[in-house]
């Protein structure tokens, strides 16, 4: 009897360990998380517009039907990323997620305070490698440190009324997200202009 009781207690205690380990491991082993769902339909280091949220769209749960959404799936191993999103008259926001869907940074058009939200995204190591003087000239550019090499940038534009949806989609279509081609020297060349 004592032996059975001991077995049960041991089982429950061990169960607690299993629980903790599996909770911590779940984000790593999940195959249906947002990043995995978006991978097949998005381009790497480029802006891809998502289909509008409607009942037939089961891409992700709880998508806001009032928003046009676009995704830039990034990989910083090739260098930092430059992001430019024109704002609409109502509301535009940019949110950054790591590979494991942690929202580490988000900014909206008002905090950006301009007609275009312009950001540089880089890893901490790339940020540390920036030459000092360039940091000064680029003072008006916002630099975001990504905790992971890969991740998602979600661009959202609000259509305050259904009729404004084409305008919101157009703003996102005009946004860009691309690898920063080599520092200033080369940017004068026509190849870098595109």
């Amino acid at each position: 009897m004592i032996r059975l009781l001991f077995t049960i207690i041991a089982g429950v205690l061990l169960g607690g360990v299993v629980h903790l380990v599996s909770v911590l491991a779940l984000p790593r082993i999940a195959s249906q998380d947002a990043y995995s769902r978006l991978t097949p339909i998005t381009k790497l280091n480029a802006v891809t517009a998502l289909p509008l949220a409607d009942p037939g769209n089961t891409l992700m749960p709880f998508m806001d039907p009032a928003f046009a959404t676009a995704i830039c799936r990034y990989d910083l191993s090739g260098g930092p990323i430059k992001l430019a999103v024109p704002v609409t008259q109502s509301y535009t926001s940019v949110s950054f997620y790591t590979r494991s869907d942690v929202a580490y940074y988000a900014i909206n058009d008002r905090s950006a305070g301009r007609k275009v939200i312009e950001l540089d995204l880089m890893t901490e190591a790339q940020h540390a490698d920036l030459p000092e003087d360039e940091d000064v000239t680029a003072a008006d550019r916002l630099i975001i440190d990504s905790p992971s090499t890969t991740g998602l940038i979600v661009l959202k534009a609000l259509a305050a009324e259904p009729g404004l949806m084409p305008q919101a989609q157009a703003a996102l279509a005009a946004s860009s997200c691309q690898l920063q081609t080599e520092p200033p020297a080369k940017q004068v060349g026509p190849a870098a202009k595109r």
Binding site: L14, G15, H19, P27, A34, P65, S100, A106, I107
Partner: protein, 192 residues
């Protein structure tokens, strides 16, 4: 022989207890860092880098992208103010005011988080398109059949959830009391 048996029993028990608890918490969520105002709940911390492991597990499982803190905050309600589950066959009234925010949207989802089909193609309201009273308050009627004013169709589904998202808002991790964030009330006014 008995030793092997008891060891096996303990291991099987551990698997069930451990994975069962993980499944429960990842599906239903936990109360860590939950902000509850009336029938509305929000987890502002899931939109920051210091999201707790349970929320991370449930995000990974559902495939959701939580709304970032610099963007806004999302409140979900699955019951009315009297804790009665929201029923798509009943008339439900959401009324009052919303916390300070530049924009907000109110949308209706089924239990899986998908929008519900209806002939109007109306899945929610934004703060700009809603019709308000003279005092600035609003009233949304949620029902399966057409209603006057701000009507949000349910498609007659049995259970649904309402999500109120505030964009560019001071409501967030620091919000504690209903006084900081006056949320609209939810009342079931009639069932057929």
């Amino acid at each position: 022989m008995r030793l092997i048996f008891t060891t096996l029993l303990a291991l099987v028990l551990a698997t069930f207890v451990g994975l069962g608890a993980t499944w429960m918490t990842a599906t239903r969520g936990t109360n860590f860092g939950t902000l509850k105002i009336g029938a509305w709940t929000a987890r502002p911390k899931t939109g920051t880098a210091d999201v707790d492991p349970y929320s991370r597990a449930s995000i990974a499982r559902s495939g959701d992208l939580p709304i970032g803190q610099g963007d806004g905050v999302a409140f979900l309600a699955t019951t009315d103010d009297r804790r009665k589950p929201l029923d798509g066959r009943c008339d439900v009234v959401v009324s009052g005011v919303t916390p300070a925010a530049r924009f907000w949207t109110l949308s209706l989802y089924d239990q899986k988080g998908h929008l519900v089909a209806n002939s109007l193609q109306r899945y929610g309201f934004t703060s700009q398109e809603i019709i308000r009273g003279a005092d600035g308050t609003f009233e949304v009627r949620i029902a399966s059949r057409s209603r006057a004013g701000n009507w949000l169709p349910t498609g007659g589904i049995e259970r649904y959830g309402l999500m109120l998202r505030l964009y560019d808002t001071p409501v967030g991790v620091a919000t504690r009391t209903p006084r900081d964030a006056p949320m609209p009330s939810i009342a079931t006014v009639g069932c057929p």
